[in-house]
């Protein structure tokens, strides 16, 4: 029989990293959006649409990288649309996000029926192949965990670092933080508040797009209906848990990925039913928001900024 020791292996950590990747991407997206005062509960839908687009483009071009590109573009487009509705037309952020989620559900199901004659799933396509990092993969322990993954996992790690640099080491980052916290101050300092918001919310969609592309092209090589399975919402949880900081959100994503990977292995032991384990990220988020596990305060008040 399988014992508890057997399931704590390098595979567990590698799986945790894989499961964390889409969540990390989407939570980075959430950070950029919320840092400029736009709540983005449409991350889930943006991921789903991008996952679909990735496979659809790959299906017709046989090039998964074009698929990734398509996914990012569509994610960005949805982000831009969210910005258009909420920034330009002062639409409600929650409603717009919910609308995007519903739209994604309907659109992907409808289009996969049109494209592949089935609302359930796409044809399999040639996804992204895992690559091995030469020296890294030969290291003990770290090698098997980090050494071989699809490129999108490495890009995610890179993106976390780049996001941190962008937010805290560049002029744009300074402006982003100013726009979210005190838009009027930013405006009077000569910053185009709406432009910064557009950039960030579009960027948010593009990150979600990468997350979606990872799921349908990196992790799997097909699209199925509703395949994001609430990961966009978990990403929001990770974002809050990580206090709107890229590295924090990444850490939280890893934690959620780890708990997921662990529950799959725990099944062999039959300790806890999966439904209970699945509630962990959500309960944790509520606890974080309530200050039970650290205190979390949003960097902005989610109000549309209107010039006088």
């Amino acid at each position: 029989m399988v014992g508890i020791i057997d399931i704590i292996n390098v595979g567990l950590f590698a799986a945790a990293l894989r499961m964390a990747t889409p969540i990390a991407y989407a939570s980075l997206g959430g950070i950029f959006s919320e840092r400029v005062g736009v709540m983005n509960i449409g991350l889930e839908g943006m991921m789903l649409l991008s996952a679909f687009t990735g496979v659809a483009v790959t299906y017709y071009t046989a090039n998964p990288w074009l698929g990734v590109l398509g996914a990012v573009l569509v994610g960005g487009l949805m982000g831009f649309f969210h910005a258009l509705l909420t920034v330009k037309f002062s639409g409600d952020q929650v409603v717009s996000g919910a609308g995007i989620n519903l739209f994604a559900m309907g659109f992907t199901a409808y289009m996969s029926q049109v494209l592949w004659g089935s609302r359930g799933a796409s044809e399999s396509v040639s996804g992204l192949k895992p690559i091995s990092i030469p020296i890294l993969k030969d290291l003990p322990v770290i090698g098997p965990i980090l050494g071989t993954h699809t490129p999108l996992v490495y890009i995610m790690l890179l993106t976390v670092v780049l996001s941190y640099i962008l937010l805290f080491r560049t002029p744009l980052g300074l402006r982003i933080r100013a726009v979210g916290e005190h838009p009027t101050a930013a405006d009077t300092a000569g910053i185009d508040v709406h432009r910064v918001k557009y950039i960030c919310v579009t960027l948010s969609g593009m990150f979600a797009g990468l997350g979606g592309a990872f799921m349908s092209l990196g992790h799997l090589s097909l699209f199925t209906y509703g395949m994001t399975g609430g990961r966009g919402f978990i990403a929001m949880a990770a974002m809050i848990f990580g206090k709107w900081m890229p590295v924090g959100a990444f850490g939280a994503s890893l934690l959620f990925g780890f708990s997921d990977a662990l529950q799959m292995r725990l099944q062999s032991l039959g300790l806890l039913p999966p439904q209970i384990i699945l509630t962990i990220p959500y309960v944790l988020t509520v606890a974080v928001l309530s200050g039970v596990v650290g205190r979390a305060k949003a960097p902005s008040d989610y109000k549309p900024y209107e010039k006088g």
Binding site: I7, L12, M19, A121, M215, T224, M264, Q267, S268
Partner: protein, 373 residues
Amino acid sequence: MSSNNTLYGGIVVALIIGVAVGWVIYPTMNPGPTEEMVSKALYDGVVADLAAAEAELDELKAPKKVGLVLATGGLGDKSFNDISYAGCQKAKDELGVDFDYVETTAISEYEGYQRDFAMSGEYMLIICIGFDQAEGLAIVADEYPDQNFVLIDMVVGNPNVASLTFRANEGSYLIGVVAGMMSETGTIGFIGGMEDPLILDFYRGYEAGAIWANPAVTVAPAVWVGGWADPVTGKELTTAQIELGIDSVYSAAGKSGLGALEAAHDAGVNAFGVDLCQCYLYDEVVASMTKRVDQAVFEMILDALVDKFQGGFYSGGIAEGWIGMCRLPEEEGLWEELFGFEHDPLPADVLAKVKEARDGILSGDILVPSGYD
């Protein structure tokens, strides 16, 4: 406030008119929505096109038709729903029986669809796929005693319903034989969608077959994805199992199973499909348990067409040709033609053992354990 009230009043009146008109015109399907009750802009076009629409609708009302209510998850599962659809398609091609189908998204929709089909009176047979339809069908079949139904994978008592169940454990037994004999690590695994007797039936047969063919083999406990449409979890779950040492993956998990097969493909271990031949998906898919819902559905349509439809309980296994395995000589050609590929030949000893098992089941020498016990 007052303009507010007037407006809602207006909407109420408009709705009532709309409903009334719709109700009155329904039996004659003529002359369609009028301008008062819906927006002119939208329905001008409707009225203009109504003649064309009527013609198209008439065309759709072919004399002999079958209705198909698919299970949640819908087409494209490369499994259960697809093969049911194939049965209807076959009836259309060979018998000229037309069919309409609906894909459902939630359990709560079944009853509505069943009644909708039954109420239209256009269908000589309504085929309901999936055990979770039983609840609704029991009610609807009661309401329409003259309407014939087929229910797949579950039984209901109504006389106008043919309840078809499949002894999937028999086919799974054969899969177990192949998996057990071809395993190198000596451990084989099973991935299920959700824990229920139907899928447990697969597991029991698989387990028994493997041990019968290779007493040294270990069959790992079944693990469950927790859903039929989550291939990512299916894949990760399978990867985890492979890391724990299994080198054969038998998955009965709907679309989640697609992830399981992909995991086996990535890891280069043997995989086994369900419901219809899934061997063309990856080289690693060695064999698939075939549940010939298409065959059963076709037989039922044929019966109905010649007025020999009979409600009641039908159970099919290998003997009836409702259950099998795609690597059995009698089936292999069929699948290869259907999907346009060729199986790699099985090792001779394995094939011989499979045949032995099949004959044993047919003769009753082998008793396959069931998940329902």
